[in-house]
Symmetry: C2
Subunit: 243 residues, 2 copies
DNA sequence: ACCTGAACACCGTTCAAGT
DNA sequence: ACCTGAACACCGTTCAAGT
């Protein structure tokens, strides 16, 4: 009842499974999405799903992926369809960041289970990195320093993807693997996420202890907190609280 | 190994169960906290727990409760031990709100599972209401309007309890129960949460459709987003980015 | 009153077997 | 290649029984 069963014998695919899972989560909440129930909705046995997905974890990662794809589709819809490259043109960073966050919110309202799911995943899905790369890119091109861009990513936290979590846990920046492997991984990352890599490099250069201290989450927290408190205090003084 | 087994036969109590659950979550993560495993840590059978807690949900609610108690303890520790009533004195609202959020963060760092747990609970734990009431109270006494106080609660969202969720879902303000029961509930709420009740009343009075529109989460979202974007733009212009 | 054992209806997942 | 049935090791919870 929850998922549209389409015909009766469509050959099952990763996309079809993910679509059914999203529909089920929309209709009955994420806890209802079990391998057995999902299979039943698809008119198939639970174990069949394992031919298209690596398991429950892979299913949840796939759900996150589809959510991010939806955000990007929403963003494209909200944008004048003129330019097709990533605009280094006159669009200012505030507009772009704002539109991205509003697109994310539109999708999160559509799928209320998404923020919780994203924040509960033990690993950050690769698609999310691309999303943050785009966000950072438009700020850097807009003239922000990497330092401020970094703080901005933290501050925007829950606005950008509906969850407030450290984007980079310390372990992510190559702490517990041997140096050469870490460097290779970083180089590979730099190719697909140039802005993120440049940001990490710039911040590591400035930090007292590059390997540990490049992202001081306590001061990021206080920066965001004061940003909000400053804004509230300003709103309190000026009577321009246009309802 | 995860929980301190203290002696061998201490008579088990709600508090002892909750403490063991928190210790287990700290040591091995929230997924490790199952009724059976928790009972084993306590040297008891799973079903014994039901004599002290109403079930798994009650256990999780209890965990949230202990986290909020810890935040309040942390707050007391961070505050000069002079005044013991809630200070209507010269302390300004920014200091108070800031200290509350920093206390919350201290506790969240200690219990990384807490933000996810709080945001995953289907119902907002009563203790959290008290926390928000205190937050709102110090802002109102500091001179903020109820409207701005309301927005502030939304904006502070994840800073205040580590999660970014609507504090009041529409259902909470008595939508689906009959009017007289809703009014009685509201009166009961007003007694223990006067600031929150006054805020809801003030906002309902201004709204176009009081029953539905008193909390427009879309405009709250945009307010917070613009608050952050304004702050970032300002930080970008002034070179006072004191590292 | 507090604790227990067996049982029930669920999970995710493995594995050998079908087609 | 894709799907399946039976089985395994887990869940939370009920219920009658112990002390």
């Amino acid at each position: 009842m929850a998922a549209t069963r389409t015909t009766e014998r469509e050959p099952l695919s990763r996309d079809r499974v993910l679509a059914a899972a999203a529909a089920l989560a929309d209709a009955e909440g994420l806890p209802a999405v079990t391998m057995r129930r999902l299979a039943a909705d698809l008119g198939v046995e639970a174990m069949s799903l394992y031919h298209h997905l690596p398991g429950k974890g892979g299913l949840l990662d796939g759900l996150v992926e589809t959510v991010i794809v939806e955000i990007e589709a929403e963003l494209a819809r909200s944008r004048p369809a003129t330019e097709d490259t990533d605009g280094t043109d006159g669009t200012d960073w505030r507009d772009d960041v704002r539109r991205r966050c509003l697109s994310a919110r539109t999708v999160m309202v559509r799928h209320p289970w998404a923020p919780g799911l994203i924040s509960s995943r033990p690993t950050i899905p690769p698609a999310a990195y691309g999303y943050y790369e785009a966000l950072l890119g438009s700020m850097i091109r807009g003239g922000l320093t990497y330092h401020l861009g970094h703080r901005a990513l933290h501050s925007l936290g829950s606005m950008a993807l509906g969850f407030a979590q450290e984007v980079f846990s310390p372990a992510d920046s190559g702490g517990d693997l041997d140096p050469e492997a870490a460097e290779a991984e970083f180089a590979a990352l730099a190719e697909v996420l140039p802005y993120m890599a440049a940001m990490a490099a710039a911040e590591m250069h400035d930090a007292d202890d590059p390997t540990l201290g490049w992202c001081d989450s306590q001061s990021e927290f206080e920066f965001t907190l004061d940003l909000i408190l400053d804004g509230l205090a300003r709103a309190n003084e000026s009577p321009t609280q246009a309802r």
